[in-house]
């Protein structure tokens, strides 16, 4: 197969356009004044400003983590714009700029409820509510009223701070403390917007909810904060997508997602991460340094993470679950594909505290080109996790001789009635498979796409339907150039 392994051609990244729009910025740099300015723009209560400043002071005493299997570029935190938002028309402050509507339209994210409801787009046969975040602000949250009828709160984080301060104050940083790690501390200090969601007791959310993050402005970073609370017995499927323009500079994305799952509640969180990965020579791309963590607080709670990571120059991300409630369960299903000079260090932590808790990890890494792809995970069985179980399967697929695939799991067992099993394999696409496809008339590039999608099937099949189709296409597109 080596004959047709090349990694020259550029990837096709169709979301790489820039929206021309006038924006309000705060000056570049990071200090207490900037944080006070952001907080003031957002008209925040004092307690939230205090929270930010406290996080900032912690952050100043922290160091960037260097334990990832990543070659991180130097990040100049004083040269980043921490807040950028499209200017509002002073005559019509409540209207959305048509340029923004058009942008999200182009990205396949309809902000027009009527259109989505009427099924103008054939793929919208299932409704999805979306909170669309453009640089530092939420542009629109759709279906808010329909959801409110069921008692569901779905809005931007900033609105939640104004309208539901008690809920925000109760849960913010309850899963990811502000000093948890360097990037979480940074986010806690400067976060601008994001999504907030509360599902009341016993309510099954009637539609999938989603957040869509778009970076547009140059020289900025995006620091969104998502907080999801699923009260007792509720159910929610949440999806997250993201894209950014093609630029030669690296842009920082340091988000925090916190999920609280109460007794018998069920949350499924799916991500298709398609940040700009940089060009074929490794110039530019998003640095995706994200802390995602959920807690199964009550008995029988369930949290499932599914992620398809194809974008970003660097991914540093470990969606994790604290299994506190007895008999609570969690899964982590991941496909991470890296091509060209992309680097991914991703995985999960499953912390078993409650009795009879169960977790399952399925990770499929795919490396092509000159990329480096690592799975990193922790499974911890605390002494009280009686009868707890974990099963992990981590597979790596290498495409070409110049990439790397790595597996770094840690198991800590302090409970003599717990069982942890971990398996990992490394392989390449076999010449036999390629020849078999070729003999049936399937050209090499298509054959690789087919085989890789097959390899990732177990994870892709966990995604909501419309997301799965998109993810499949994305895997094939992201591999373009891996085989010449």
């Amino acid at each position: 197969m080596d004959d047709f392994l090349k990694d020259i051609t550029a990837q096709e990244y169709k979301e790489g356009f820039v929206t021309e729009i006038e924006q309000d910025y705060v000056p570049a740099g990071l200090n207490e004044d900037i944080i006070r300015t952001i907080s003031a723009i957002k008209k925040e209560p004092q307690w939230l400003l205090d929270f930010r400043l406290d996080a900032f002071r912690k952050w100043q005493n922290m160091k960037e983590p260097r334990w990832g299997h990543l070659d991180m570029p130097e990040i100049d935190y004083q040269n980043i714009i921490y807040y950028a938002a499209p200017k509002k028309d002073s005559d019509r402050p409540s209207e959305i700029d048509p340029a923004l509507m058009e942008t999200f339209d182009k990205l396949g994210i309809p902000l027009n409820e009527r259109e989505a409801l009427a099924g103008v787009r054939p793929k919208e046969d299932r409704q999805v509510a979306v909170d669309a975040v453009f640089d530092s602000v939420s542009v629109k949250t759709t279906f808010r009223k329909a959801l409110a009828d069921k008692g569901i709160i779905f809005c931007s984080f900033s609105e939640a701070v104004q309208e539901h301060p008690d809920l925000v104050r109760k849960y913010l940083a309850s899963v990811v403390p502000s000093g948890d790690n360097f990037f979480a501390a940074l986010n806690s200090a400067v976060f601008s917007d994001g999504s907030f969601c509360y599902i009341p007791k016993g309510v099954k959310c009637p539609m999938d909810l989603s957040s869509y993050f778009r970076i547009n402005a140059s020289g900025t970073g995006q620091f969104e904060r998502t907080l999801i609370i699923a009260d007792e017995g509720s159910q929610l499927s949440y999806m997250e997508g993201c894209t950014a323009p093609m630029r030669d500079e690296n842009q920082l994305h340091a988000a925090v997602v916190e999920i609280i799952v109460e007794k018998d509640a069920d949350v499924r969180y799916s991500t298709v991460q398609n940040w700009y990965p940089g060009d074929a020579q490794g110039r530019g791309g998003i640095l995706n340094l994200v802390t995602k963590r959920g807690i199964c607080r009550g008995e029988g709670a369930h949290l499932s993470w599914t992620q398809v990571e194809t974008g970003s120059a660097i991914t540093w991300k470990y969606p994790s679950t604290i299994l506190k409630g007895d008999y609570s369960t969690s899964e982590f299903y991941s496909v991470a594909l890296t091509n060209n000079y992309q680097q991914a260090d991703t995985g999960t932590k499953m912390i078993h505290i409650g009795r009879g808790t169960r977790s399952r990890i399925v990770s499929k890494g795919i490396s092509a080109g000159h990329s480096q792809n690592s799975y990193r995970g922790l499974v911890r069985m605390n002494p009280g996790a009686k009868g707890a179980r974990n099963y992990s399967q981590c597979d790596s697929l290498l495409i070409g001789p110049l990439c790397g695939a790595h597996t770094f799991p840690v198991i800590r067992n302090g409970c003599p009635s717990a069982i942890v099993e971990h398996e990992a394999t490394t392989s390449k696409i076999s010449e036999d498979q390629m020849f078999y496809c070729g003999q049936r008339g399937i050209p090499p590039e298509e054959a690789v796409g087919l085989i890789v999608n097959g390899y990732a099937r177990e994870v892709l099949s966990r995604l909501p339907m419309e997301f799965a189709v998109e993810a499949q296409k994305l895997l094939s597109v992201s591999l373009e150039g891996a085989i010449g």
């Binding site: 078999y436 070729g438 003999q439 008339g441 399937i442 087919l450 085989i451 999608n453 097959g454 177990e458």
Partner: protein, 248 residues
């Protein structure tokens, strides 16, 4: 001009010469059997004709409908109408037979300048051909060859042949590991696909399959050369007397 014209073909693997000057002509609409003992070069011949990358051609030529077969990629040979039923079909985990065949059928149509089949058309074709080889419809959802029994794998190969409607099909030891019932289903499938435009090369170690699929011509391949060519009666002679009786 014959459909397939092989002249003085030399080929091998990892520097070891296995085919040492094969000459073979296959005319349109004919069925040729190639028999030979283990290690004679039967699978090398099928591999070289379909472009298996680990085989290296060191001399000679092979023309297919006037085109230089040896300069074409595996998929180009497939599009030109060449089909190989693999001796050991390959597993592709996570890829359903439906998806696999959809990719194959549409890649071929694209290469031939035809529009892709609409999903409904494709499914109709799929069902028709599955019925043809007596495969249950659940089969289409299973991953290609994963967890298949020997018989299921071979039947899947014949099903794919029916889907792709080749002009020349090479059956490499399709009979190995099959019980009589499965052998009959395979043979019925092949016989039903026989017509005046389509040719077959049946590579086999035994003559059993040739009782069900009567060949027009029988060749004996031994030590990398075709040492004898005759009619169907040659297969019976080998069955009775063994390959030792054949001397080129």
């Amino acid at each position: 001009m014959e459909m397939l014209e092989i002249k003085n073909l030399h080929a091998g693997i990892e520097g070891k010469e296995i085919l040492k000057g094969v000459d073979l002509s296959v005319g349109k609409g004919t069925v040729h059997a190639i028999m030979g003992p283990n290690g004679a070069g039967k699978s090398t011949l099928s591999g070289v004709l379909t472009g298996r990358p680990d085989y290296k051609v060191t001399g000679g030529s092979a023309f297919y409908n006037g085109k230089d077969l040896l300069s074409m990629s595996p998929e180009e040979r497939s599009w030109a109408g060449l089909f190989l039923s693999f001796q050991y079909p390959i597993e592709i985990p996570g890829v359903s037979i439906t998806n696999f065949m959809k990719s194959a059928v549409n890649a071929r149509r694209k290469a031939l300048g035809l529009p892709e089949l609409k999903p409904a058309e494709f499914l109709r074709l799929l069902r028709e051909k599955m019925a043809f080889v007596q495969m249950k419809s659940e089969f289409a959802k299973r991953d290609v060859n994963v967890g298949f029994s020997g018989g299921e794998k071979k039947r899947n190969e014949i099903f794919q042949m029916a889907m792709l409607e080749p002009s020349l099909a090479i059956l490499d030891e399709t009979d190995s590991g099959l019980d009589v019932d499965a052998l009959k289903i395979v043979a019925d499938g092949v016989n039903a696909l026989r017509n005046s435009e389509r040719s077959f090369i049946i590579i086999t170690h035994y003559q059993k399959l040739l009782e069900y699929i009567r060949p027009d011509v029988v060749h004996v391949l031994k030590e990398g050369r075709i040492v004898m060519t005759g009619g169907p009666e040659l297969a019976d002679k080998i069955w009775k007397e063994g390959f030792e009786s054949i001397n080129g």
